[in-house]
């Protein structure tokens, strides 16, 4: 299953990549592959912007605006004027 086309904020900077493969290890949707020891994106539309790759890249070779794709959280954020918030910390009972 793939979500909306051409929407992800994922970017790679091959010049900074050392080919360590950490991003391929953490990506839950196999978005990356190595080509000539540099990371490339195989299918951009599979990215769900979880942010694991960016967070675990020691070389700053990946950037993505990470977040959780949850409509309830986005709506909560719109109502309260904050960042998306799924309300998991409270007692609301609604959580991802």
């Amino acid at each position: 299953m793939t979500y909306l086309k051409n929407i992800t904020t994922l970017q790679v900077f091959p010049d900074k990549c050392t080919g360590c493969g950490r991003c391929m290890e953490v990506c839950p949707h196999a978005v990356f592959k190595l080509e000539d020891k540099k990371v490339t994106i195989t299918d951009k539309d599979r990215c769900m912007e979880c942010g694991a790759c960016e967070k675990n890249c020691d070389f700053g070779a990946i950037s993505v605006k990470a977040g959780v794709g949850c409509a309830t959280a986005v709506i909560n954020g719109m109502i309260r004027g904050t960042e998306p918030d799924c309300g998991c910390d409270g007692t609301s009972g609604a959580c991802c």
């Binding site: 992800t8 290890e25 769900m48 912007e49 998991c88 007692t91």
Partner: protein, 385 residues
Amino acid sequence: MKFQALNTPDKRLSPLVTAKPSCGCSVAESLSAREAAPPFVTGYIRAKTGDMPVVSTILSSRDKWETVKARMSTFRMSFSVKPGLYAVGAPDENSDVFVTANYKMSFDAVRSSLNGLNAWIMVLDTKGINVWCAAGKGTFGTGELLNRISRTKLAENVLHRKIILPQLGAPGVNSGEVRRKSGFSVMYGPVRAEDLRKYVENGHKCDAEMRRVRFDIIDRLILTPIEIRQIFAKFHYFALVVLVVFGLTPDGIIFRDSIMKGYFFLAAGLLAVFAGAFFTPVFLPFIPFRAFALKGWVAGIVLFGGVLYFTGTFVSCNIFLIISAMILFPLLSSYIALQFTGASTYTSLSGVKKELKIAFPVYISGAVLSFIFLIFYKISDWGML
């Protein structure tokens, strides 16, 4: 060196039994170890820095029933275990350390899949939230991991410097920072706890399949009770409005009219919930379009239109009422389906924002339009048209 197994721990040494492990006030603790220990603790093991609880790797019927409850109800909001270091089998200083969240369903998945192994389980304080969700909000994160490594004195209890994290914890953890600050290097294990044994047998390697998140029909089906429940928590507001609107006559609110004329909208509401919170999630890949809002609308219009057609409601019912319902209920189903993005495993924040940007104005204008037709219906029902 093998650590010694114990039946009763020294309370001063056990991080689980003492109420506050780091304050040194545990001697005053009045509860006996047996009373305080949760049912899945089968004994204790004397590690370097304390007596660590040994947990069963076989889930009891109670564990299983609690999991069912957590899948169905708000019980899941208080379904947690105490953070700390637990033992599986008879681990020693060279045994693997598996990290997990303190949501009990996560903890149960890990301990049951380590059956037959000797290992440590380090439970982080994620406020009772599962690994992936907690990683998304950062509670399963670098800070708590470093904190838990130091509070469990992990570096004294094991000789190696490796910790195995669930892959889905990665969005919250900066493994480079963990290595620099604690000396422990992070290894990412498989996505699913059930693959842990295979991961260990493979020499701590995951194959491609173990790294992929799936979203099979069973995965989706199991999420629907909570989806439906969350909608029904608000359904009485809808029911109240329906009963008032349909009961409203020039002579006041007539209760008989509320039921006799409002049942159509109430039934349609139930059908919209079914379409959005059950049908759409279960048949997700088979419903056309990528956007969840569109999938939910399609499911709604097909199911609702189908029911109206086969029950002959199209001909027997007031035309304004039909138009009002045909606008409102597929949109309601669409809105409910959109909520399922939160439970799905492949939607992105940018995508959901885009969906909402387009869908929200449609929902508002649809609701207004539907209400206008409902007013036409009321006027004709009162014989003024």
